[in-house]
């Protein structure tokens, strides 16, 4: 059973073993390129590169499964609204009463959808292959305060727990006679009895957890030592700088009108 709010999938591919900062750079640069590059073949190229990386990490099938539910409605909505309403619209493909489907808007909508697909693929590539604990550790080794490291790690753990608590609360309140089905006003009235126990018990837990952490020495002003070494390499460093330069170059080229 997955316990943290993490999509991390165990694996041993080079991507799994890469330094978290390398993967973070890769993800951010891929997103940057997807939005800087102006024409669809280039944006598609970024997507294909990301897909092959997903395949290399052995998570392509999982990505397609998760992404489909996310991307299909966005694509439809973007294509529909932009083809109906976009300042660049000129060429009518299909008249629809007072509105009309336009070629330019359709292209713009689909290009935007393609960019979002790149963004989603890049994000998933990162989260499928990176353990959140490793990311937090890597950031802390680069100087992030351990308190913020705690916030990041704890948030990822606590969200799914609170969703489980929400299920238990729903059971308890229904057993007391609370209806959670039916017309909208009745469902709306159920919101507070379902949410408030969660808030209150979360505050109880916060107090107890804060006390327990103090008792374990949390917040001591001591030099924090690395928990474990996260392997980095010259190659990865070169790759990180190379990717960053590529984004800068693409931006410059775009601004200069070379692309």
């Amino acid at each position: 059973m997955a316990r943290g709010l993490s999509l991390y999938a165990e694996g041993s591919s080079p991507l799994h073993r890469a330094h978290p900062l390398t993967k973070a750079t890769l993800t951010l640069c891929a997103i940057g390129l997807a939005f800087i590059l102006p024409s669809w073949p280039l944006v598609l190229g970024v997507g294909v590169a990301l897909l092959s990386l997903l395949a290399a990490a052995g998570v392509l099938r999982r990505f397609l499964f998760v992404a489909a539910g996310l991307l299909v409605p966005i694509t439809l909505l973007l294509a529909l609204v932009q083809s109906l309403a976009n300042p660049h619209n000129q060429t009518v493909i299909l008249p629809l009463g007072p509105l009309a489907v336009h070629r330019e808007g359709l292209y713009i909508g689909l290009l935007a959808a393609l960019r979002i697909a790149d963004l989603v693929a890049a994000t998933f590539l990162f989260s499928f292959t990176t353990r959140p604990a490793d990311l937090a550790e890597a950031l802390m080794q680069r100087g992030l305060s351990p308190r913020f490291g705690y916030v990041i790690q704890s948030a990822l753990q606590i969200i799914p727990q609170s969703l489980e608590t929400a299920d238990r609360i729903r059971d308890a309140q229904r057993a007391r006679g609370l209806e959670t089905e039916g017309p909208l006003p009745r469902r709306a009235r159920a919101f507070i009895p379902l949410l408030l126990p969660l808030v209150l018990s979360a505050l109880v837990a916060t107090q107890e957890r804060a006390m327990a952490l103090e008792v374990r020495g949390f917040g001591l002003k001591v030099g924090r030592l690395a928990r474990y070494r996260i392997p980095d390499s010259l190659g990865q460093r070169v790759l990180r700088w190379g990717l960053a330069l590529a984004v800068v170059a693409a931006l410059a080229a775009r601004l200069r009108g070379w692309l």
């Binding site: 309403a85 300042p87 916030v151 606590i158 609170s162 969703l163 929400a166 959670t180 837990a205 804060a210």
Partner: protein
């Protein structure tokens, strides 16, 4: 301007532990709302509550991390008065709608991705309004009722909390350095 002291950065262990909890409440609020099939997000209740309880940094960091709006720009003491509550709503609404619009323009050609708002967008663009106005109204039409109810719920929850929790999490006191009377609790 005494209330400016609320922005001084400080976080104790309790504040640190509260941040992920607020994020979790954001998520749970949204999960419960969608479980009940309510036509609202209600996904920033924890953020606002964190802001009211422990001040701008807790609320702000929670909001920032949930990648949502920040309640962090309001003074918590001011928030405890009724006229402040309307302020919370207006502010959350403004922060959410103004913050989201450039993002929507950059990512979604100005759409909010909510059919109701996007219908307004379509109408405005076809009436030859500039895209950024259409994009803002699209987002605002979605945020206005949602943030109103979110802020209302958060304030209601805050008022319903046992006094000891209201006091326990308060990192900012009107009389900030007063010793002793910090929080009532029982054991």
């Amino acid at each position: 301007m005494a209330w400016l002291s609320a922005f001084k950065f400080r976080l104790n262990t309790l504040g640190i532990v509260l941040i992920p909890v607020c994020i979790a409440i954001d998520w749970a609020g949204h999960a419960i709302a969608s479980g009940l099939r309510l036509p609202l997000f209600l996904d920033s209740i924890g953020t606002i509550l964190g802001g009211i309880l422990a001040g701008p940094w807790v609320g702000g960091l929670a909001g920032f991390i949930t990648n949502l709006i920040s309640s962090g720009t309001i003074d918590p003491i001011w928030q405890r008065q009724p006229r402040g509550w309307i302020g919370i709503w207006i502010l959350c609404f403004l922060v959410a709608s103004i913050g989201s619009t450039p993002l929507n323009i950059g990512l979604y050609q100005g759409q909010s991705g909510i059919p109701f708002g996007d219908a307004i967008y379509t109408a405005l663009v076809n009436a030859h309004f500039p895209t950024w106005i259409a994009a803002y109204v699209d987002e605002a039409a979605v945020d206005l009722p949602d943030k109103l109810i979110t802020a209302l719920v958060a304030v209601l929850i805050y008022q319903g909390l046992p006094r000891r929790y209201r006091a326990l999490f308060r990192l900012y006191q009107p009389d900030d350095d007063a010793e002793g009377e910090r929080s009532p609790a029982r054991a």
